[in-house]
């Protein structure tokens, strides 16, 4: 997957965030949208007396899946094959793209219709198909807005969340028309319906992702709202599904948990309008040919990290984005990845590597709002600090510059200083002495070097002339 390079010099997220924060319109759009969805989610979660039990079951089911993933993958392969599908395996994005391109080319098509899929954005399938002369048409409304606006997705569920209705109207007027279009959401949706209808009817190859893949029955589940997912998975003669290997659930029964957790966490509905489930291919209903591409692309690296493995439990609901105070202010583009927000901050570095995305685990105040809403209880804050440790270590191991990072040297020195009482107390005195050139009228308004980030908007009270322990010792002595 692609992310902007960050090592050794560039702090990728802070810089990208800085320009995003300056975009007042985008901040307003995202602020409005996330506060709407937050409130709705709270409503549909609060009406569920067994929500916590469902969350725990969801977490446990994903643990059961991941701890025995090899076994479940083989079961799935067998089930899909038995149901008339063809299973392919792809170590990385290039392999997956090559498989999809080869199948599409063998059908002689110049266009495929796509239902929104994070995995295919991750591996840049559209670009690969384009290079082979095949147009991949996104059919999800938000994804279509992004595609027509030559934009990048900024949210897992609503990739065009950074656009408001007036901006969407302008994009549609420019591209699919008509020029008389207003910014009424119903009219915008109607414009998309007209534009796509005929394309659905003539499409011969469809491409999808998967929300869940049931090992026991071979069923693939796609949850959606608009009906474009049904169109893409039902009408074409050939259907290709790209599915991350972590999307498995062991048994049919397990859907009873996830079909409750996902819609309420995602679109804040009791249930999304349409859910399609199919196994393999058949002659009397839907595509005659079905290809399932099982994608690794870094997932086994995450699996190998015992603590961070839980990241793979993610069902891509995006509830963590909607409650994240960082995401709400920077938007999704600052993360430089298809997966933004808290989940992106832990998933992207694991898939793309620390060198490419080592700044992301630091893009959090560790407020914990994400963990609270996660439907499968991924302890995002704990994974964040774990990945910070990995990022620091890998960076130090990779270069002298990393080893000489001022924060690293300072924190190592402080840790040494805090190791004994004597050194600790000397450090306290040293701090008091060292600050005298900085303090003016009882406060510090400017700090040097990297610490200057603090005093951009915040004063600092100087270190008082007596520590608590000095006061305590003095008091004990006077008793």
């Amino acid at each position: 997957m692609t992310t902007s390079a960050s090592w050794p010099d560039v702090p990728a997220f802070p810089l990208a965030a800085k320009s995003a924060l300056a975009d007042a319109q985008m901040r307003r759009n995202i602020g409005m949208a996330t506060s709407t969805i937050r409130e709705k989610r709270t409503g549909v979660v609060e009406e569920m007396p067994d929500w916590e039990q469902l969350r725990e079951a969801g977490r446990a089911l994903k643990e059961r899946t991941l701890r025995h993933l090899d076994e479940h993958l083989l079961t799935l392969e067998e089930s899909v094959t038995r149901a008339g599908g063809v299973v392919h395996w792809a170590r990385d994005g290039d392999e997956a793209n090559a498989i999809v391109t080869r199948i599409a080319k063998s059908k002689g098509v110049s266009e495929v219709v796509k239902v929104k899929s994070m995995a295919t954005v991750e591996i840049e399938l559209n670009e690969a198909l384009e290079a082979a002369g095949i147009t991949a048409l996104e059919t999800d409304l938000a994804e279509l807005i992004v595609q027509l606006g030559r934009d990048r997705p900024s949210h897992i569920l609503v990739p065009a969340i950074h656009r408001n209705r007036a901006e969407i109207r302008d994009i549609f007027r420019r591209t699919i028309g008509p020029e008389t279009l207003t910014d009424e959401p119903a009219e915008l949706a109607e414009a998309a319906r007209r534009f796509l209808r005929e394309r659905f009817l003539r499409a011969r190859v469809g491409v999808s992702g998967a929300n869940f893949a049931v090992a026991e029955t071979g069923a693939i589940a796609v949850l959606e709202s608009e009906g474009n997912g049904r169109m893409c998975t039902t009408l074409p003669e050939t259907l290709i599904t790209v599915c991350g290997i972590e999307k498995l659930v062991p048994a049919w029964q397990d859907l009873e948990v996830f079909l409750q957790l996902l819609p309420r966490s995602s679109t804040a509905e009791r249930m999304n309008p349409y859910t399609t489930l199919w196994s393999g291919a058949r002659d009397d209903d839907g595509p005659r040919e079905f290809h399932l591409v099982l994608l690794d692309n870094g997932r086994t690296d995450s699996l190998a990290d015992e603590l961070a493995r839980q990241t793979l439990a993610c069902i891509r609901c995006s509830a963590c984005l909607n409650v994240c105070p960082v995401y709400e202010r920077t938007g999704g583009h600052a993360y430089g990845s298809v997966y933004p927000g808290p989940i992106g901050a832990i998933l992207t570095p694991q898939l793309a590597g620390m060198r490419a995305a080592g700044s992301l685990p630091f893009a959090s105040s560790l407020c914990g709002a994400c963990y609270e809403v996660c439907p499968v209880k991924i302890d995002i804050p704990t994974v964040l600090v774990h990945l910070r440790d990995r990022s620091n270590k890998e960076r130090a191991a990779a270069s002298l510059k990393g080893r000489l990072d001022p924060e690293r040297l300072a924190l190592k020195a402080v840790a040494k200083g805090f190791a004994t009482r004597g050194r600790y107390e000397r450090l306290q005195k040293l701090g008091r002495l060292g600050q005298w050139p900085l303090a003016r009228k009882g406060k510090i308004e400017r700090l040097p070097g990297e610490l200057g980030g603090w005093t951009k908007a915040r004063d600092l009270m100087p270190i008082p002339d007596q520590t608590f322990r000095e006061w305590w010792v003095e008091r004990e002595a006077s008793r």
């Binding site: 920077t330 440790d389 009482r421 406060k443 006061w471």
Partner: protein, 262 residues
């Protein structure tokens, strides 16, 4: 009751007033406060910043210093959360069975101040008097890791003379986040701006919380904006009585650092 004070390196050095307030409060309530001078730091700063090897010796040190204390209190929600939530994880990664066992009981014996007062000592009213307009910011780690809920508010509601006003969007993070405030200063400041707007909307003279780290952040912003609002730790409000007011430090005057002499 014998209560060991874990002051935290941050309060020890930067906010001694808060420690003094805890001592005064607990002694007024008839308890014996002890302060193990060997304590330094719980290791949270290192752990949260991603320096886990450096945090480990500090965890060991903490476990040793407080090994025999039956009851430990700290005026910091985030440091208590470190001990209770993260110590088991650090210990597990170290693979040291003795440390694993040591931190298990530590978590059960260490309390944030409002938890100690309400859950352990069974007090809702500590007899405080504080005639000021106050708003309360629930700090994230106290709220979401310790789940202290409205315990600080219960204590504040019982304070005589107080004019307690609700903070809009109270549960939104203030943007401090340790090194986040420096590494991602622009984002941190954008979060702080919204918090400051909400604080000022209440018309409060004092913004309080269970963590001085958040208060340093909020207070630093209020000071820069010359908002005329002080950031004061919960302990200092609860320590105040009619006979012995603990006082509100005047913003930016240097009063914030004045030490109450014994």
């Amino acid at each position: 009751m014998r209560i060991a004070l874990f002051i935290t390196c941050f309060n020890d050095t930067l906010f001694p007033r808060t420690g003094q307030a805890v001592v005064r409060l607990l002694e007024r309530l008839g308890h014996e406060v002890v302060f193990p001078l060997e304590q330094t730091c719980c290791g949270q700063m290192h752990f949260n910043s991603g320096y886990h090897d450096e945090a480990l010796p500090l965890v060991r040190r903490f476990a040793r210093v407080f090994r025999d204390e039956p009851l430990i209190v700290s005026p910091s929600g985030s440091c208590v959360a470190m001990v209770r939530d993260h110590y088991p994880h650090v210990a597990k990664e170290s693979g040291d069975p003795e440390l694993i066992e040591a931190v298990r009981t530590l978590g059960e014996r260490t309390f944030e101040l409002s938890e100690l007062l309400i859950d352990v000592l069974g007090l809702g009213d500590v007899g405080a008097y504080y005639p000021h307009r106050v708003t309360y910011h629930p700090s994230c780690h106290a709220l979401r890791m310790l789940h202290i809920g409205d315990k600080p508010l219960q204590l504040l509601r019982a304070v005589r003379g107080i004019d307690l006003v609700e903070l809009p969007a109270a549960e939104q993070c203030c943007g401090f986040g340790g090194t986040f405030a420096i590494k991602n200063a622009d984002t941190s400041i954008a979060m702080l701006d919204d918090k400051l707007t909400n604080v000022q909307e209440t018309g409060a003279e004092v913004c309080t919380a269970a963590d001085n780290s958040c208060l340093m952040h909020i207070g630093g912003g209020l000071s820069r904006q010359r908002a005329g609002v002080s950031a004061v730790h919960l302990a200092e409000i609860l320590a105040s009585t009619e006979a012995e007011p603990f006082g509100v430090p005047a913003v930016g005057s240097g009063d914030a650092i004045t030490v109450v002499r014994a």
